[in-house]
Symmetry: C2
Subunit: 258 residues, 2 copies
């Protein structure tokens, strides 16, 4: 008899060892068969990067959370994990891809750099409904338990009804509280400031390490993820896999087609 | 007297040593002061990845194409180059950022993985008009000369009049021909197939290398970059730095806000 349970592919960017990954697997394992394919090493800030010329290897890890959850590590990026999972690991095409739960925020324009969302956008480009989950808490000891019911509710809705073509979801979850509810909204526009700290090495040569903080450029807007996260809501931002600025095509035609 | 010549920041993903980078600098050097800040090593497929915790170093390289062009190498990604250039290298805020000329296509959905366009999207997020240029020829010996006039024309237009807020440009150039003209269009939707080749290492353990080819999912569409590139036109695709799928916010509200 054919297996008709949904196949759920899970990945992340914090690595196969991250507590948030396990928490996500546990939150959705009752909804289908789960295959976890996650980076061997942390991949924060890897965006949609892929490994162009280095060899990728797959290693299965033991699962201690049930027979319907299998774990694999890949020595690559989140995008590599999705691509290689589909090519060489999954027994059938996944019905859905979930990524996370990320240890730290991916709200606002941070989505651009997010490896968590890189995996989600990859799945979306492949036509598979996909959701990235992030908790606004960087610690490896973050408490994911308060948000589990919301993660499960969003996952169940996407498994049941899919998503619009070309659209995936970026879900952020406030830390240390039971969320007030869910808000569908847009990403906050902002920018980073003081992005590097300068050091001198033992030879007196300068080097730089990334740091800085995010400035919300539209603090008065009430339809953004930052606005709702500050009010203890889970934010759900629909993200387009196609980055074309369709509204600008016509406007720019007269300027560049001469 | 204040320097009022435009400041042009140039980067790429093929590294400081790529011929396409030099070609771009030469094509625009008459339009302003040029500072090149490019990755020390090739960064193809690095998308918007940034270096989270490794030290970044800057080293100036000699310039042999004129006093108004300076070259710097950074041991990071294209996004790192833009961020660190603004933080520690440029004497004033650049008026424009150009990236490329990439050795190889960034048409269609490939823009997602493109380090060339990662740098451009970073500049756009910072509010600076930005354009990525790519030639549909992977060779380091590719002939960029046939397209120089088109690169210069697009660069001059952007320097003169800027771009709409939140929009940057992804320019692709057909190889081995004098282009017929310029077309403003959208990215082709498609997918990659046969993405990995499997090998066995000396111990008999499998590993995988990226390969495959792009399938155009809409070969009959006449408003895409692939369509116009095949007809020997330079394609100009406006790209949105904000990845929110604004049209989907309303549609998804009733499903997820319960």
């Amino acid at each position: 008899m054919e297996n008709t349970r949904p196949l759920i592919l899970i990945t992340n960017d914090d690595s196969i060892d991250a507590p948030g990954l396990r928490c996500l697997a546990e939150a959705v394992r009752s909804m289908g068969d789960v295959i976890v394919v996650a980076p061997r090493h942390p991949q924060s800030g890897q965006s949609s990067a892929l490994t162009v010329s280095a060899p990728l290897r797959i290693s299965e890890r033991p699962s201690d959370i049930g027979d319907n959850v299998r774990f694999f590590a890949v020595n690559g990026t989140p995008v590599d994990c999705v691509k290689l999972a589909l090519h060489a690991i999954v027994p059938r095409r996944p019905d859905v891809v979930f990524s996370g739960i990320n240890h730290g925020s991916n709200s606002g324009i941070n989505v651009t750099y997010s490896g968590t969302m890189g995996a989600v956008i990859e799945a979306c480009l492949l036509g598979i409904p996909a959701v990235g989950f992030s908790l606004l808490h960087h610690s490896l000891k973050a408490d994911f338990g308060l948000s589990t019911a919301f993660v499960a509710a969003i996952a169940a809705e996407v498994i049941a009804k899919g998503l619009p073509a070309g659209v995936c979801l970026n879900v952020n979850i406030p830390a240390r509280v039971i969320p007030e509810g869910i808000k569908v909204c847009r990403a906050t526009r902002g920018h980073w400031t003081d992005e590097y700290k300068r050091y001198l090495d033992p030879l007196g040569v300068p080097f730089y390490l990334l740091t800085g903080h995010f400035i919300n450029d539209e603090p008065e807007a009430t339809d953004t993820d930052e606005y709702w996260l500050q009010r203890r809501y889970v934010s759900v931002v629909p993200v387009s896999a196609d980055q074309t600025a369709h509204d600008a095509v016509r406007e720019l035609t007269s300027r560049f087609e001469k």
